[in-house]
Amino acid sequence: MYLTTFGIVLVFFIVGALFVAVGLFTAALVRPKNPTPEKLRTYESGEIPMGSPWIQFNNRFYIIGLAYIIFDVELVLLFPWSVVYKTLGWYSFIAMVIFLMILIIGLVYDWAKGYLEWDKPNPVIPQLNELIIHRKKVNKEN
């Protein structure tokens, strides 16, 4: 019977957790506590906060997240390959290059479609004049 490698890691984790707990407990003992409404209000540059803080944000964060998951799964598949690579030879090299190519094509597709652009490339803003001309045309036809 012996303590496995990760048994020791568990001991370390417990010691670390104890340290954090002791730190927080000591702080709880010595710190003052007198909240006022102003103190508890969330900071918004001195103004009274307006609306919900869970605002709508740029959906590019979502696209970045999707791209990350795909590439990260690729990495997970590559790790076992990399450890035994020296013993496998040219066959594994070619197999890996084909595998990587599929993902590189995915990256190139994302790139070409502009999903990696943080600024929207060319926003199309409808012009008022065009709308008026269109309306007139419709009226004439009627």
Partner: protein, 352 residues
């Protein structure tokens, strides 16, 4: 039964030593940051508390402990409290697999230098832990009931996951060369009997640059400190934190800096190895003197890198967010893929 007790005791002692060293190194990093930034800006820096202001970090911690802990209205209390704990826990747990020297021998008992340096999945453990680190910051931003915090948390998580890919690919190239996930194996492979010419930085110069850049981004330090950009987001995800909880984020940031430096040293800069065979100056393998010398070499390398981190922070301006994303996805990721393919080709070419 007796044996389990002894091994547990040894693990406990090592855990306490490593934890104290980590906290000490965070304190030293804080002092270095304040002092070096002062010198760069032609100021004097902390000089009142203790000789040369050396006790300043301790006073900082005491101040943070004495401060009121404010949970803002409408914040999710549980997650708001949990987020800094996650951040700090991750920063500490990475050290579970980092070795600091060769194992030493006392009597016929071999002591590993580090918590569990022989873990055969060392690098995977580090990657997993840094991924969990994203949760701390994202949860802190989301649970604070503050628009600045939410934006800071989102930015930070997007940035960390973008740069993690290039980091993973750079690490893959190292594993291709070493054929092992264990950090001890990777360091021992870089040892040569004359000079440091088998360091991975000379074999993987491109990989080193990629890893260095991603290390800056992963620790959220300048020039990648957009999550806490003071001028636009008033320190981002930790706007609503105060007292000890803020202190935990602070501690985690500086511990992460030391951790990143340690990983760079282990992977690329030869770790704790001496530039010549230890027996050349009369040090036997396995003695505690050799262990001490190796530990000192390792610490010196870590601190040179920490100073480099600080130097960069106070001299380089911050990126804009679209530039950051462009660098991550359009420059580093293709370069890292190229580096991986070139490395795999090279390894095969040499071995077959």
């Amino acid at each position: 039964m007796n044996e389990i007790l002894w091994i547990s005791l040894e693990a406990l002692i090592k855990a306490i030593i490593i934890l104290s060293l980590l906290l000490l190194s965070a304190a030293i990093s804080v002092y270095l940051e304040r002092k070096l930034s002062a010198w760069i800006q032609l100021r004097i820096g902390p000089n009142r508390v203790g000789p040369f202001g050396l006790l300043q970090p301790i006073v900082d911690v005491v101040k943070l402990i004495m401060k009121e802990d404010i949970v803002p209205n409408g914040a999710n209390k549980f997650l708001h409290g949990l987020a800094p704990v996650i951040s700090l826990a991750v920063a500490i747990m990475v050290w579970a697999v980092i070795p600091v020297a060769d194992p030493i021998k006392i009597g016929d008992h071999i002591i590993q230098m580090g918590i569990s340096p022989n873990a055969d999945i060392g690098i995977l453990f580090i990657l997993a832990m840094t991924s969990v680190g994203v949760y701390g910051i994202a949860l802190a931003g989301w649970s604070s009931n503050n628009k600045y915090s939410l934006l800071g948390g989102l930015r930070s998580s997007a940035q960390m996951i973008s740069y993690e890919l290039s980091m993973g690919l750079a690490i893959l190239s190292i594993i291709l060369i070493s054929g092992s996930f264990s950090l001890s194996d990777i360091v021992n492979q870089q040892f040569s009997h004359w000079g440091g010419f088998r360091w991975n930085i000379f074999i993987q110069p491109l990989g080193f640059l990629i890893f260095l850049t991603t290390a800056f981004a992963e620790t959220n330090r300048a020039p990648f400190d957009l999550p806490e950009a003071e001028q636009e987001l008033v320190s981002g995800y930790n706007t609503e934190y105060s007292g000890m909880r803020f202190g935990m984020f602070f501690l985690a940031e500086y511990a992460n800096m030391a951790t990143s430096s340690a990983i760079i040293t282990l992977l690329y800069l030869g770790g704790w190895t001496l530039p010549f065979a230890p027996s050349a100056i009369g040090l036997e393998q396995g003695t505690w003197i050799l262990g001490l010398v190796q530990f000192v070499i390792f610490a010196i390398k870590i601190y040179l890198l920490v100073m480099f981190f600080i130097w960069v922070r106070w001299t380089v301006p911050r990126f804009r967010y679209d530039q950051l994303m462009r660098l991550g996805w359009k420059v580093l990721l293709p370069l890292a893929l190229l580096n991986l393919i070139l490395t795999s080709f090279g390894v095969l070419f040499i071995n077959h």
